[in-house]
């Protein structure tokens, strides 16, 4: 086992506290200076089934998992059965000897059995506390000081802390030290999910109202913002539907309050009439679409990148929109702030396209690596000229006024309208206003040239380029590093940063596009701008690429 890069898998039934345990394990190692990535795999049910987290720990910053694991923490027999193939000769399994039978286990693997079920029963504790026992055992096996564990527990468990500590201590005491994991000499970087980083970016961008109907994988944004609402003077609303959500949000925008909504593909279906309304009425709005596999209900708790063309084309009519697909926590933070700024500057809908892997996965979050950016004020009415909400200007941007404004009557309209906002069906005026709205795209595209809308990583001299977007960034960057390849990641999907993309492709003779969908959506998008992909690596089983899996598939193409 390499102490520079190792993985822990904890598994059991939903309701066992697997998710929480994964986070606690991540935090323990994070405190030791380790960089952490956690993949959370859970079915769409409340109790039962099989749920697991893979916690990968490394010296370097990481954003993907490996198939093979070094520690397997099995709270039930299923966990052992389903994941024993992941074990290596050097792996360790820690298990509840009351519920797991180690049939067919490679004899080289060290096994630590603890009668966790009995132990918890003896303490009259609830079954869910079995996970604290196994965390205690893991900590001891890794030679981690009890004090560190206790410290993390105190921060993370508000309910029955003492009992949790008592049970963890028993797991700790019943395990022998197998290795000594020492703190790494580097600063601790906070752990964050993509959803949390994105939420913080919105707050920094001046968010005043967040309105959302719960839907995996973006419900955690709703929960997080509702929790911190008093601290940031936020209005957080869970309304009757996604239609209600986006219309309410547009009501806030009309009044000058920066608003956002969050959903997944199914909820976004309901939002499309509101999206189109935002386009016509020129009301700013930030929309977070967390992708998961479809069509329809699909695999609600898994991940996909199959809604790119949906968000590009959603809504009747033609209007300017901004779409960005961040690939990690830093990008989620930076680009949600930018999305808010651009949405208000250009008075357009801005869509942040994420997915379950980014939204619900845990990553290190390095705020210091993010370019400085501030919330910007939109263009406001000068209070001198008679107010016209849709004043036709050179760049298409009309100065904003918000009710109640003395001497300004603010009229927004879903119908085609004149500059004041009154309905019109006049052909000349229709053309004038349509061109005004579409003209904003040219200026937005120009502004984006000054931002890093396409990123390049890895071996810049390589003639093989890996093209990826969104949450595949992490796995592609690491695979490219190991294989000596170049990575090209477009962040902005609309208006597509053609010049930057062209620049990024320089020297690439073979372009391989990696996507979590079945029809190569990014490949199709760039084709419309004259860029061709040579080969595709697609995955559409709802699960993220593991590093090993992606490397193997790339090797198959570059032999």
């Amino acid at each position: 086992m390499s102490l520079d890069d190792f993985s822990i898998l904890i598994g059991g039934k939903a309701g066992f506290g697997i998710d929480k345990s994964g986070t606690v394990i991540g935090l323990i190692f994070n405190q030791l200076g380790y960089r952490v990535y956690i993949y959370r795999d859970y079915p769409s049910l409340i109790r039962g089934g099989h749920t697991f987290s893979i916690i990968r720990l490394a010296k370097e910053k990481i954003a993907t998992h490996k198939n093979k694991i070094d520690f397997l923490l099995a709270l039930n027999h299923d966990t052992f059965n389903l994941h024993k193939e992941r074990l290596k000769d050097s792996s360790v399994i820690i298990y509840d000897s009351d519920s797991v039978k180690l049939e067919g286990l490679n004899p080289k693997i060290q096994a630590i059995g603890i009668p966790i079920t009995k132990l918890v029963k003896n303490e009259n504790a609830s079954e869910i506390m079995r996970n604290t026992c196994i965390i205690g055992a893991l900590a001891k096996a890794c030679g981690i000081k009890w004090e560190l564990l206790e410290d993390i527990f105190r921060k993370e468990f508000s309910k029955e802390l003492d009992l949790n500590l008592k049970i963890a201590r028993q797991g700790y005491d019943q395990t022998k030290e197998l290795t000594k994991i020492a703190p790494l000499p580097q600063a601790v970087l906070p752990l964050s999910t993509g959803n949390q980083a994105l939420s913080l970016g919105l707050i920094k961008g001046g968010l005043k109202a967040y309105i959302s109907y719960p839907m995996t994988p973006t419900s955690p944004i709703l929960h997080f913002l509702a929790e911190v609402a008093p601290d940031y003077n936020l209005k957080v609303i869970h309304p009757e539907s996604e239609i209600g959500a986006i219309l309410m949000a547009l009501g806030f925008s009309y009044m000058g309050e920066k608003s956002a909504v969050g959903t997944s593909g199914g909820g976004f279906c309901l939002m499309t009439e509101g999206l189109s309304l935002a386009g016509m009425s020129e009301l700013p709005i930030v929309i977070i679409v967390g992708q998961r596999p479809g069509p329809s209900t699909g695999l609600p708790t898994y991940s996909a990148q199959a809604d790119l063309h949906f968000v590009l084309n959603a809504g009747q009519g033609e209007f300017t929109r901004f779409i960005v697909a961040p690939g990690d926590t830093e990008e989620a933070y930076y680009w949600s702030l930018q999305a808010m700024n651009l949405s208000w500057k250009y008075q357009i809908p801005a869509i942040i396209l994420t997915d379950k892997n980014l939204g619900e996965g845990y990553f290190n979050f390095d705020l210091s690596s993010i370019p400085e950016v501030k919330a910007e004020a939109p263009l406001l009415w000068d209070r001198k000229s008679p107010y016209q909400r849709y004043l036709n200007t050179e760049n298409g941007i009309s100065p904003l006024a918000f009710a109640p404004a003395k001497d300004a009557i603010v009229k927004v309209n879903s119908y085609e309208h004149d500059e004041f906002g009154i309905t019109t069906e006049d052909p000349k005026l229709t053309v004038l206003m349509q061109e005004k709205r579409l003209r904003k795209k040219e200026y937005l595209a120009k502004e984006l040239e000054g931002l890093e809308a396409v990123k390049v990583y890895g071996n810049r001299d390589s003639s093989v380029g890996l093209l990826c977007w969104g949450s595949n960034k992490g796995v592609c960057v690491e695979a490219a590093k190991n294989l000596g390849l170049k990575v090209i990641q477009p962040l902005v999907m609309e208006p597509f940063p053609i010049k930057q993309f062209q620049q990024a492709l320089k020297g690439v003779k073979k372009l391989i596009c990696v996507e979590d969908n079945a029809t190569a959506q990014l490949t199709r998008l760039i084709k419309t701008f004259g860029f061709n992909v040579d080969q595709n690596i697609s995955k559409y089983d709802g699960r993220p690429f593991s590093l090993d899996e992606l490397e193997e598939r790339i090797r198959g193409l570059i032999k």
Binding site: P239, I243, G251, S259, E273, L277, K406, K411, S414
Partner: protein, 259 residues
């Protein structure tokens, strides 16, 4: 633009004799009164859905959000929640509020959010040429139901009472004084208020004579008593011939939605 009569340069395209004129005149009179009593015009925001009714915001020189079919209510809610100091008055048709957007109406009533909804209930789709709506009577023959409907109409006021609305009234487009009175009371009410306005569509469903024969103004009625309100609301079911009560059915001070 002339602020005194509150009109705009928009050409009015309602049919001659349309019941919407009465609502326009009533709201103008009420807004002028409110302004005279100290509410600045800029503190008022009008919201509409889509349909003949919705053109009213083009005809009023007041802040407005001309939204989409069925969605006037959530837009109005967002505006109110963004700034509780503004008075938000929503206009919607019966197809709009009682059909496409019914869930929003129910939830707004449930929240008792402090907005006013004025429903132009002509019991027919006008702008899409005469189809039945949720309040058309059984057997209504329209272009989508040439053999007549086989479903009973909804009593929207009964639904609103059950949903938690704290002010419910009915007016007609024949009877301007009463209409002005109930609209003003609805706007001044703190909480969710709704006025179901029997607005006549002269082209597709001319009910002037029918209503004129049956309407009467509510008297000797305790508006704070939900049982009395319920009985009065159920007197006419929007289907069978019976007296049609006008005025305030229900009014109660209740906690309003807040963040």
């Amino acid at each position: 633009m002339n602020q005194v009569n509150l009109g705009t340069y928009a050409v009015n395209t309602w049919c001659p004799g349309c019941g919407n004129f009465a609502i326009l005149n009533a709201i103008k009179a009420v807004l002028l009164e409110l302004n005279a009593e100290g509410t600045p015009f800029e503190n008022i925001v009008l919201v509409s859905g889509i349909g003949c009714h919705a053109k009213i915001v083009d005809y009023l020189n007041i802040n407005s959000f001309y939204s989409i079919h069925g969605r006037a209510v959530p837009a109005a809610e967002g505006i109110k929640l963004a700034n509780p100091n503004v008075k938000v008055i929503g206009f919607a048709g019966d197809g709009d509020a009682y059909g496409e957007g019914i869930e929003h109406l129910i939830f707004a009533a449930k929240r008792n959010i402090d907005i006013t909804m004025l429903i132009h209930n002509n019991r027919v789709y006008g702008l899409t040429t005469g189809q039945y709506t949720p309040t058309s009577p059984l057997g209504y023959k329209g272009r989508s139901t040439p053999a007549g409907t086989t479903e009973l109409p909804l009593n929207p006021l009964e639904l609103m009472l059950a949903s938690g609305a704290s002010f419910l009234a009915r007016g007609t487009s024949h009877g301007l004084e009463l209409l002005k009175k109930v609209i003003k009371e609805a706007i001044l009410h703190k909480g969710f208020s709704l006025v179901d306005i029997l607005q006549v569509c002269v082209t597709y469903y001319n009910m002037y004579e029918y209503y004129d024969k049956r309407v009467y103004e509510i008297k000797d009625h305790n508006v704070g008593d939900s049982n009395q309100a319920s009985n009065k609301i159920r007197e006419w079911d929007y289907n069978t011939d019976s007296p049609i009560a006008l005025g305030v059915f229900y009014q109660k001070e209740m906690p309003t939605f807040r963040l």
